[in-house]
C-alpha cells in the first residue's frame, strides 16, 4: 500500500445521504476477478444521468468526494473502495461512514475523513462557488483546509498510523505467528473443523 501523508486536489459535492455500496458499485460489476479496472463501475447507474455531478465538466479530475451522511452502507464489497480509487479518488469526506466500508478503505489506502455535516455543507458551498479550488487534506495534522476554511477531521489512530507508514496489516500480524500458534494449541476440541 502507498503511504498517505497529505493530499491536495479538487472536490466533487455529492448531495446524497445513505450512499450504499450498491450505488457506489452495482452488483453486476462484481463478477470481475481483478482488483483494478473498476472506474467505469463507480456510481454506474447515477452516471447514466448527464447532470450527475461526476459527469459535469467542472468536476472532471476530482480526487476528493464530499458526501452527505452515511456513506458506504450495505454490502461489504471492497470493490466499492477499488472503484472510488480507480476513478481517481484519494479522500472521501463525510459526517458518518458505515463501519465495514470504512475498514475496507483503511486497508486499501483510501482516506475516509469524518467532519461534521455543517462543515460538509460549507465545503459544498465553497466547491460549488469555485469547482477548481484546491482542497488540502493533511493526515499528519488531521486537517482539511481550503482558502479561509479549515477544520479538523477524525480518523482512527491505528488506521492513521498505517496509512502514514503505508503498512500492510498481514505483515504486521505475521510478526505474531508464535502467539497465534500458541493460541491454537489451547482451542477446545469440540470446535468444528473440516480437516
Amino acid at each position: 500500500m502507498d503511504a498517505f501523508t497529505i493530499h491536495t486536489g479538487t472536490a466533487a459535492p455529492l448531495h446524497r445521504s445513505n450512499v450504499d455500496t450498491d450505488q457506489i458499485i452495482p452488483a453486476e460489476y462484481l463478477k470481475r476477478i481483478t482488483r483494478h479496472g473498476f472506474e467505469d463501475a463507480l456510481f454506474a447507474s447515477w452516471r447514466k444521468d448527464p447532470d450527475f455531478v461526476l459527469n459535469r465538466p467542472e468536476y472532471q479530475g476530482v480526487s476528493i468526494l464530499v458526501s452527505g451522511p452515511d456513506f458506504g452502507t450495505g454490502s461489504s464489497r471492497e470493490h466499492a473502495v477499488w472503484a472510488l480509487q480507480d476513478f481517481g479518488f484519494r479522500v472521501v469526506l463525510c459526517s458518518r461512514f458505515a463501519d465495514i466500508f470504512r475498514g475496507n478503505s483503511g486497508k486499501g489506502g483510501l482516506l475516509t475523513a469524518v467532519i461534521p455535516q455543517s462543515a460538509i455543507e460549507e465545503l459544498w458551498e465553497i466547491v460549488e462557488a469555485d469547482p477548481s479550488i484546491p482542497i488540502t487534506v493533511d493526515l499528519q495534522e488531521r486537517k482539511v483546509h481550503v482558502g479561509e476554511f479549515m477544520c479538523d477531521f477524525e480518523v482512527d489512530d491505528y488506521v492513521r498510523w498505517r496509512l502514514l507508514e503505508g503498512l500492510d496489516d498481514i505483515g504486521i500480524t505475521l510478526e505474531h505467528s508464535d502467539v497465534i500458534s500458541e493460541f491454537e494449541k489451547n482451542r477446545p476440541s469440540f470446535l468444528p473443523s473440516l480437516g
Partner: protein, 468 residues
C-alpha cells in the same frame, strides 16, 4: 462487573493485545464465496503465503450462480469464470467447496448453520455483510472486506477494535401473523440505518426467546441494515436442540463439554450495555418498506409518508429521492401499491420455516394475474426438504416458479432480475436503488406478507385474504 455475551466471546478469542493497538482475534470459521475471494487468493499467491487453516475454511457457490439449468455450464461467461476461479483456488489451497450441483451447496449463511458449523461462542467471518446471521447461535459473526478475507486466509486472525454493545429488548408475545422479519424491520425503522454503527446488537427478551432458530437468524441477519456489524442472541435449549445431530456438531464427551461452555454464554445480570432499546412485541404489526433503504419502513396498514412533514433537510431530501425513485406519492395507502414480482428467498428468509410459512398462506390459492412469484430455497438441502414435504407442489399449483438454491434476485447478479421500473415484494434484506436489477423497485416484507401479496397483487397481509 459482569460482562455481556459479546464481551465474553470477544475476550475468549484475544490472541494478542497492546496499548493503543487493536486486539488480535482468533477466527474459528471462515466462510468463502465466489465474489469476494478471488482477489484475496491472488494476494496470497503474489506474496507466496499459504492459507493457514484450510480446515477452518469452507466455500460455497451462491451469489452469482443461476437457479435454473444448474446441471449445465453457466451461460454468462463472466460469471462462469468467477465460479471456475473459486474452484481452482479452493483446489490449490485445499479448501472444502460445495459447488453448484452438490447437495450441500447453498447460500453461505444457510449452509454454515445447517451443517452444524455455526456454533455458540465461535468467531465467524465471511466476505459478506450478512455474516451477522450466525450471531443467532451466540457466535460473534461479522462481514469483512476482501483485504480482511486475505488477512484471515493468511493468519486465521483479524486485528479489531472492540465494539460497543447495545441491547434490543423485545418483550411480550407477537400478535398472530407477525413474523421475525417484522420485528427486525421495526427495529431498523426505530434506530435507523446508522443506529447500530459501531455496536454489536444483542437481541433479548421473551419475544426473542420464543423464536425458532430460523426466526432468530432472520433477525440477526439484518443487524447490518441497522448499521451494526454483528447481532447476537444468547444460546439456549432451542439453539442446542437445533445443533444436536448436525454433521459437524460435537458428539459424545465433546457435546457435553460444548454444552457446559455454551451455557455460560449469556450476558451477566449486572453487565452494562452502552445503549438499550425496548420494543413491545404485542404492538408490532406486519411491516413493509416504502423507500430505498431498510430504515424507510412502516406497518403495512399505514400510508406513504409526506416529506413536507419532516423538518430535517437531509431527511426530507432522502424521502423525496426515495419517493421519486419508488414512484410513490405521499398519503398513498401502502396496501394499494401493486407489485409485479414476489421474491421468496435469500439468507434472510430462504430457510425451510420461511417456505412453510409462505406455503401455508398460498395453499389452495392462486398467484394474481400478471404477478410472478419466484421461490428460491436458501440451500439445496432446504429445497430437498421442502420437496419432501410437498411444498414445491403447493407453490407450483399456485402458479409460482420453483428454483434451485442461491442468492438469486436478492442481489440480481445472476439472470434473476427485475426489469427497469418493475416493482417487487421481496423477503430479502435490501431495498436499495437497483438492488434487484437496474431501475427495479423493492419492498421488503416477511414470507407471510410476500405470499399474501402474490395472491392479491398488491401489498397485503395474510389477514387481507378471503377464505381459501
Amino acid at each position: 462487573m459482569g460482562r455481556t455475551l459479546a464481551e465474553k466471546v470477544w475476550s475468549d478469542h484475544i490472541i494478542h493485545e497492546g496499548e493503543g493497538l487493536p486486539d488480535l482475534l482468533y477466527i474459528d470459521l471462515h466462510l468463502i464465496h465466489e465474489v469476494t475471494s478471488p482477489q484475496a487468493f491472488d494476494g496470497l499467491r503474489a506474496a507466496g503465503r499459504p492459507l493457514r487453516r484450510p480446515d477452518l475454511t469452507v466455500a460455497t457457490e451462491d451469489h452469482n450462480i443461476p437457479t435454473v439449468d444448474v446441471d449445465k455450464p453457466i451461460a454468462d461467461p463472466v460469471s462462469r469464470i468467477q465460479v471456475e476461479t473459486l474452484r481452482e483456488n479452493c483446489k490449490e489451497f485445499g479448501v472444502t467447496l460445495f459447488p453448484l450441483g452438490d447437495v450441500e451447496q447453498g447460500i453461505v449463511h444457510v449452509v454454515g448453520p445447517q451443517m452444524g458449523l455455526t456454533q455458540p461462542g465461535m468467531t465467524i467471518v465471511c466476505g459478506d455483510s450478512h455474516t451477522s446471521t450466525h450471531g443467532a447461535f451466540g457466535a460473534l459473526a461479522f462481514g469483512i472486506g476482501t483485504s480482511e478475507v486475505e488477512h484471515v486466509m493468511a493468519t486465521q486472525s483479524l486485528p479489531l477494535k472492540p465494539f460497543k454493545t447495545m441491547a434490543i429488548n423485545v418483550e411480550g408475545a407477537l400478535p398472530e401473523g407477525v413474523a421475525a422479519k417484522d420485528i427486525i424491520l421495526a427495529v431498523i425503522a426505530q434506530i435507523g440505518t446508522s443506529g447500530g454503527q459501531g455496536y454489536v446488537l444483542e437481541y433479548r427478551g421473551s419475544a426473542i426467546r420464543a423464536l425458532s432458530m430460523e426466526g432468530r437468524m432472520t433477525i440477526c441477519n439484518m443487524s447490518i441494515e441497522a448499521g451494526a456489524r454483528a447481532g447476537m442472541i444468547a444460546p439456549d435449549s432451542t439453539t442446542f436442540d437445533y445443533i444436536k445431530g448436525k454433521p459437524h456438531a460435537p458428539c459424545g464427551k465433546d457435546w457435553e463439554s460444548a454444552v457446559s461452555y455454551w451455557e455460560t454464554l449469556n450476558t451477566d445480570p449486572d453487565a452494562q450495555f452502552d445503549r438499550e432499546i425496548a420494543i413491545e412485541a404485542s404492538t408490532l404489526r406486519p411491516f413493509v418498506t416504502w423507500g430505498t433503504n431498510p430504515g424507510q419502513g412502516l406497518p403495512l396498514d399505514q400510508v406513504v409518508p409526506d416529506p413536507k412533514a419532516v423538518s430535517d433537510p437531509v431527511e426530507r431530501a432522502a424521502i423525496e429521492n426515495a419517493l421519486a425513485y419508488m414512484d410513490l406519492r405521499p398519503g398513498q395507502p401502502l396496501k394499494e401499491i401493486a407489485i409485479d414480482t414476489v421474491f421468496l428467498g435469500s439468507c434472510t428468509n430462504g430457510r425451510i420455516e420461511d417456505l412453510r410459512a409462505a406455503a401455508l398462506v398460498i395453499k389452495n390459492r392462486k398467484v394474481a394475474d400478471g404477478v410472478r412469484l419466484l421461490v428460491v430455497p436458501g440451500s439445496t438441502r432446504v429445497r430437498i426438504e421442502a420437496e419432501s414435504e410437498g411444498l414445491d407442489q403447493i407453490f407450483l399449483e399456485a402458479g409460482a416458479e420453483w428454483r434451485g438454491a442461491g442468492c438469486s434476485m436478492c442481489l440480481a447478479m445472476n439472470p434473476d432480475k427485475l426489469a427497469p421500473g418493475e416493482r417487487s415484494a421481496s423477503t430479502s434484506n435490501r431495498n436499495f436503488e437497483g438492488r434487484q436489477g437496474p431501475g427495479g423497485r423493492t419492498h421488503l416484507v416477511s414470507p407471510e406478507v410476500a405470499a399474501a401479496t402474490a395472491v392479491r397483487g398488491t401489498l397485503s397481509a395474510p389477514t387481507d385474504l378471503a377464505e381459501a
